[in-house]
């Protein structure tokens, strides 16, 4: 294995002054975005994406990946101090983290979370580094049927797990696929669904949609209600933050278990850091010798989930880099970025752009080290940022959304698109649809269509080709099960509730 040679190449890329600076920007902005309620990793990546267009793709992905890792750290701060999750992967941290803060132990809660996150993030990158080349080599043998089956699996699993209503999730996904059909068809050259509007010939742009659905949509949901939260005061000197020996004893296995669980969940298409953190919390509570302490400030309830979400954010990069299938909503947006930089995500990425892939992997080690220092030594700085009232933050985020949408192709048309999708994203959120599924489908749509059409051209049995080749057959079957199980369950529930309507 030439992992070490590759890693050396990676560090030679990641340690150039500009890339170190970019990683620094990513972790600081990421921690801030994670800490601020109302914007999370997805909107953060979508909003920062336009700034990367002038850079080499490697520097671009370094910023975004560092930002992603940073949000996983930053979300903890808000959960512990305000009892409001800074982003969705820190929801469970509120339960025991806030209790610890009420007991005056906010420092150790944040310190343990940072240390656990560092351990999990670093191990996650090691696993990412060891696993990705193998997976990429395996995926090199994929033809169009396998590619299509894989995309189908990615789409269906992401959709099944996001949103609280399976049907609404699938509807969101199909809408995304439909939107991705707008514009020129690459194979035939036909213009589809443009409504005669010249701007639509290039298709629905990914970036304004992503910024609209996530950035603007979240701002609108927040704008509806104004109000501030109370921040608990605590001391954040190094001695206040460093966990005690007893904390360590209680947390070390929680961190180890959270890391493994988080990474596995992250790699699976569809389940990202949020689900990983929930599973880790449940697992710790089940395994604990004193489950009654959970909910009353058990440090394992912070250490486990916070480790899991960091490992998961590393794991989610594996399918994105090797297969071109994102493992979470955030990596779906990153995947869109990769395509905009002119890279083709998938197994060939490792052969054609080794400096990109290994530079990214090496920079993740650097980013995690920076984040540990940042989140142990500079907590007061982020706490101060939390005092920035939402009433000032909200208009600022909108300005960011506007400039971000505009700067991709310098058209106000894109800002209009962003606004339309912002309103749509707000509505989808309110009504339980899944913006993440829509964006993922928008990214994968053209690729899935091409793979399907190529499969059908080489097939002599129509769609059955998806079941004739072993890998494709397994993937397709899994994808169909992923659709069928929740839909059948929902249908049975709907039919079973045929009790007479209340008068």
């Amino acid at each position: 294995m030439d992992v070490f040679a590759n890693l050396a190449l990676g560090f030679s890329v990641a340690l150039t002054p500009f890339n170190v600076f970019m990683a620094m920007v990513g972790v600081v902005v990421g921690t801030l975005i994670g800490a601020l309620p109302g914007i999370g990793p997805v909107s953060g990546v979508a909003l920062l994406l336009p700034l990367t267009f002038g850079m080499p793709p490697t520097s671009g992905i370094i910023v975004l990946a560092a930002l992603y890792a940073g949000t996983m750290y930053g979300g903890t701060i808000t959960s512990v101090l305000i009892n409001t999750p800074g982003e969705s992967a820190s929801v469970v941290t509120c339960i025991d983290g806030y209790q610890m803060a009420l007991q005056g132990r906010a420092g150790p809660a944040l310190g343990m979370a940072a240390l656990g996150s560092f351990a999990a993030g670093t191990v996650g990158v090691v696993l990412l580094m060891l696993m990705s080349p193998l997976l990429a080599r395996w995926a090199l043998s994929f033809g169009p049927p396998e590619t299509f089956a894989l995309m189908l699996l990615g789409l269906t699993t992401v959709t099944g797990l996001t949103g609280d209503h399976a049907l609404k999730g699938y509807i969101s996904m199909v809408l995304g696929l439909m939107l991705s059909m707008v514009g020129f068809d690459i194979i035939s050259g036909d213009a589809r669904y443009t409504g005669g509007i010249a701007e639509m010939l290039d298709g629905v742009d990914f970036l304004p949609v992503a910024i609209g659905l996530f950035g603007m949509g979240e701002v609108l949901a927040g704008a509806e209600e104004a109000g501030g939260e109370q921040i608990l005061n605590a001391r954040y000197g190094l001695r206040d933050v460093w966990p005690t020996a007893a904390d360590w004893m209680r947390s070390r296995w929680a961190i180890a278990r959270g890391t493994v669980l988080g990474f596995v969940v992250g790699v699976l298409p569809g389940a990202g850091p949020t689900i990983a953190s929930f599973l880790a919390y449940t697992m710790e509570k089940k395994l604990s010798r004193h489950p009654e302490e959970f909910g009353h400030g058990a440090i394992e309830g912070v250490a486990g989930p916070e480790s899991a979400n960091n490992a998961a954010s590393a794991g989610a990069m594996v399918p994105m880099l090797t297969l071109g299938i994102p493992g979470s909503a955030t990596t779906a947006v990153m995947l869109g970025g990769l395509m905009m930089w002119g890279l083709r995500p998938g197994p060939l990425l490792f052969e054609k752009n080794p400096d990109f892939v290994w530079g990214l992997i090496a920079s993740q080690y650097v980013a995690n080290a920076m984040l540990l220092v940042l989140n142990i030594a500079f907590i007061p700085l982020f706490v101060r940022a939390l005092r920035l009232p939402y009433s000032i933050l909200m208009p600022l985020i909108i300005v960011f959304c506007i400039t971000g949408a505009y700067s991709q192709s310098n058209k106000l048309w894109d800002v209009g698109q962003m606004l339309v999708f912002g309103v749509l994203g707000y509505g989808m959120k309110k009504l339980g649809y899944s913006p993440a599924a829509l964006v993922l489908a928008l990214v994968l749509g053209p690729l899935a269509e091409r793979a399907l059409r190529q499969s059908l051209i080489i097939s002599d049995a129509g769609v059955l080709i998806l079941f004739q080749r072993p890998i494709a057959a397994v993937l397709t079957t899994l994808a169909l099960l992923a659709v069928a199980v929740p839909v059948v369950r929902a249908a049975r529930r709907a039919l079973g509730r045929r009790s007479p309507l209340p008068a």
């Binding site: 700034l51 267009f53 002038g54 049907l167 609404k168 699938y170 509807i171 199909v174 809408l175 439909m178 059909m181 068809d185 194979i187 035939s188 036909d190 589809r192 669904y193 603007m216 701002v219 609108l220 704008a223 509806e224 209600e225 104004a226 009433s391 000032i392 909200m394 208009p395 600022l396 909108i398 300005v399 506007i402 400039t403 505009y406 700067s407 310098n410 106000l412 800002v415 209009g416 606004l419 912002g422 309103v423 707000y426 309110k430 009504l431 339980g432 269509e449 399907l452 059409r453 059908l456 051209i457 839909v487 929902a490 249908a491 709907a494 039919l495 509730r497 045929r498 009790s499 309507l501």
Partner: protein, 151 residues
Amino acid sequence: MRLADRIAAVLLLAFGAGYALTAARSYTYWGAHGPGSGFFPFWLGVALAVLAALFLAAAVRQPDPGAAWLPDRRGAVRLGVVVGATALFIVLAPLLGMTLATALFLLGLLRFLEGHTWRVALGVSLTTAAVNWAIFTWWLSVPFPVGVLGF
């Protein structure tokens, strides 16, 4: 929520059917060499229609009207102002230039929607517009719309 689900289901059903029909009528379903430009969209339309029909069936049988989801009056006004201001921005940016439009947009929202003092509102909006200009126009040389005033 139940009413919203029913309305959405009907609209989605119609949209899916229309989408599939357009694909079948205007684009090639199957060409000389295999599936054409209408093939995938046709089945997408069908898929949406089927999902929407299932969704409609579930929403019709749903006995529970569900939680209210529409914003209250104050929330609706705030939403309307934010969306309206952003739309106004798009209209005014080519006339005023991006920088001035940004400053005015922020000033308006901060002063009149959020009720900050003139000092805070002016400070934040002018600083942001300047920083924005510095990053995008000066550093990244993104061609922002320039207004009648020349910036």
